[in-house]
């Protein structure tokens, strides 16, 4: 069973000629088939964790380890991590002018699967996934994320999740900026992937709203660059009632 293990992860960024530590010792284990919700206030370092796992060059790992089934993830380049089975649905997906969604998806699937998918089954696969996510077929001919609405960008991320079937899916605030209908559609997409039992999910969110659609096995409160408390789904109910104040006031946050 695939397992992502994060041990004592410290991460810093360079900003204004100074080094700023953002992650201050994160410990977390995510197994295939499990869903972990990571909840925390703005600026607590959730995206930093997500980007660091995917290998964004802006973030420097100063200490700690990340392994996927014992393999050192931190040694891998960004594309190697993706091919090893780590997927990041981004909070702010990037526009790539002049590159069509269909070309992008096929190039990506070819890289991840190690061979070009058979054209006939591929076209059908994409079409069906798009239908389930309520995406118009004309979407495939548009340029990646160019002129997409917030909701379209998030659907496009989940479309990739469904097509690439990663071992570990990191969803960074996939819920933010979505109306209720879009939230439901996107959540259903995530749940289809979860139901396969092959994917471990790290669901990063600011709000408890999405947890009505996607039921986590574990909930972690993220504050001040580390996990401040872990528990079961009941922890989300507590956050819903009390907010993050207890964690940010207690001195765990900056």
């Amino acid at each position: 069973m695939a397992t992502l293990e994060i041990r004592d992860l410290h991460v810093s960024v360079e900003a204004d000629n100074a080094t700023k530590e953002i992650l201050k010792g994160v410990d977390l284990t995510v197994k295939q088939g499990e869903t972990h919700a990571i909840m925390g206030p703005n600026g607590s370092g959730k995206s930093t964790l997500a980007y660091s796992l995917a290998g964004h060059p802006k973030y420097t790992i100063t200490s700690g380890t990340v392994t996927l089934d014992g393999e050192d993830v931190l040694e891998m380049s960004v594309d190697e991590r993706a091919r090893a089975g780590v997927f990041l649905a981004m909070q702010y997906p990037v526009e790539v002018p002049g590159v069509s969604v269909s070309n992008f998806l096929r190039t990506s699937a070819t890289a991840i699967r190690g061979e070009a998918p058979k054209l006939r089954t591929w076209v059908k696969e994409v079409k069906e996934s798009m239908e389930r996510l309520n995406m118009d077929p004309s979407f495939a001919e548009r340029n990646v994320n160019e002129g997409f609405s917030g909701g379209e960008k998030k659907r496009h991320e989940i479309l990739q999740l469904e097509l690439l079937k990663p071992k570990i899916a990191i969803l960074d605030e996939t819920d933010s900026g979505l109306d209720v209908d879009a939230l439901r559609i996107v959540s259903e997409g995530v749940n289809r992937v979860r139901e396969s039992g092959d994917t471990g999910t790290l669901l990063i969110t600011h709000y408890t709203r999405i947890l009505r659609y996607i039921k986590p096995d574990h909930v972690h409160v993220f504050a001040g660059g580390r996990i401040a408390e872990s528990g079961g789904p009941e922890l989300a109910d507590k956050l819903e009632a009390e907010g993050y104040e207890a964690y940010t006031k207690g001195g765990t946050a900056q």
């Binding site: 060059p57 790539v96 002049g98 590159v99 190039t107 990506s108 890289a111 991840i112």
Partner: protein, 392 residues
């Protein structure tokens, strides 16, 4: 593209001058003339020469570049119905579309003994392109070509420059009323070639002119595509792509002279640069004269800088002498390769080299699609891939 991150040393200036003194005219150190003696030998500080390394012009600018007979081989492949003539320097059609604006163009005009004139008779609609191959033989040459379309004729012309040598040439396009001309000029020179050219288009009433300039090769290429209108209802599209490598100098200086009312122009040039001392210069002058009410114009230049050490000078310049226009705008942006795009693609398993290819292809894609000549489009994409291959 991260438009804010202008590479060190690059400039993107830009101005819209309304009813001011014409900087287009004052920018030139002498008025247009067919006589080389009317232009002083440039010293390099003149506005029109300040970006050009004169020492690499191999004497084209100071009278020391002496042409040899057949210094370039020109072959014309024309479909039936097209007339191809070789004429003497005195032929009345030479220089009808425009007058040399700098010393090199005047030198070429003064030095040529023979010119080619290609005529597409009125109402003749070609289904195959006219292909002109200009092949350098390592020598110095001056050239002049005229392409004339009669009323309502339609043609596509592909001019392909290969080989090496030193060439200064004038090309005239005379586009009759209601005619449609597409010209693709490909500068696919070997690395030592020097090519300076002035292209003059005279757009007839309700005529369309599309110019596509594609510059890859050469040590130094400096082209002046220029458009004026004979009447109203004309349309000019000026597209350009360049891929400027280590130590190459590619300079494109455009002028659209809206001298008559109710004409349109659309200019879009895109360039990628890589390698130490790669230098691209883009000057986009659009002049809307007092008489040119109803003008609609837009010009754009975008540059993608792939490595350190490359430099871009991009100067759009729009001068408006009448308030009665339909639209006028300009944009210029020079950006580095966008690391966020690269990260996004790589985060989907795509290896770095392939991700870079996708981004650069994407950068040029929209422009390539507008060329409308399939074999040229394919060759261009292959060429872009080969350029990238060489850098990775």
């Amino acid at each position: 593209m991260a438009e804010a991150s202008i590479p060190v040393g690059s400039t993107t200036a830009g101005s819209i001058a309304v009813a001011a003194e014409s900087t287009v005219a004052t920018r030139m150190s002498a008025p247009p003339s067919f006589d080389v003696a009317d232009f002083p030998v440039p010293h390099g500080r003149e506005e029109e020469w300040r970006f050009t390394p004169l020492e690499r012009l191999r004497g084209l600018h100071d009278g020391t570049a002496i042409a040899v007979r057949d210094g370039v081989r020109v072959e014309v492949e024309a479909p039936e119905g097209v007339t191809v003539e070789t004429v003497g320097a005195g032929d009345a059609r030479l220089g009808k579309a425009g007058t040399p604006v700098d010393r090199v163009a005047a030198q070429a005009y003064s030095a040529v003994e023979k010119a080619s004139v290609i005529t597409v008779p009125k109402e003749t609609v070609l289904t195959e392109p006219i292909r002109i191959s200009v092949q350098g033989t390592g020598e110095t040459a001056y050239g002049h070509q005229v392409i004339e379309l009669g009323a309502f004729a339609e043609a596509v012309v592909v001019i392909d420059h290969t080989g090496t040598g030193v060439l200064a040439a004038n090309v005239d396009y005379l586009i009759g009323d209601g005619a449609k001309l597409t010209v693709v000029s490909i500068q696919d020179w070997d690395e030592k070639a020097v090519h300076v050219g002035q292209h003059n288009a005279l757009v007839g009433r309700d005529a369309s002119f599309k110019s596509v300039i594609v510059t890859f090769g050469g040590d130094l290429v400096r082209l002046h595509p220029r458009v004026t209108y004979a009447a109203t209802g004309g349309e000019a599209q000026l597209f350009g792509l360049y891929f400027t490598d280590r130590a190459q100098h590619h300079e494109h200086r455009l002028l659209v002279d809206h001298n008559k009312p109710h004409n349109t122009s659309n200019v879009a040039y895109k360039g990628a640069l890589q390698g130490e001392a790669a230098h691209a210069v883009w000057i986009g002058d659009v002049l809307i004269r007092a008489a040119a009410e109803g003008t609609d114009t837009y010009e754009l230049n975008r540059n993608l800088v792939l490595t350190d050490g490359a430099r871009v000078d991009s100067v759009p310049n729009l001068e408006i002498e009448t308030g009665e226009i339909a639209g006028a705008g300009h944009a210029s942006a020079t950006g580095r390769f966008d690391d966020e795009q690269l990260f996004y693609l790589m985060a989907r398993g795509i290896p770095a080299a392939e991700a870079r290819r996708l981004v650069v292809r994407g950068f040029f894609a929209e422009l390539v699609q507008q060329i409308g000549v399939p074999d040229v489009q394919e060759r261009l994409i292959d060429k872009i891939e080969a350029e990238l291959e060489a850098s990775l």
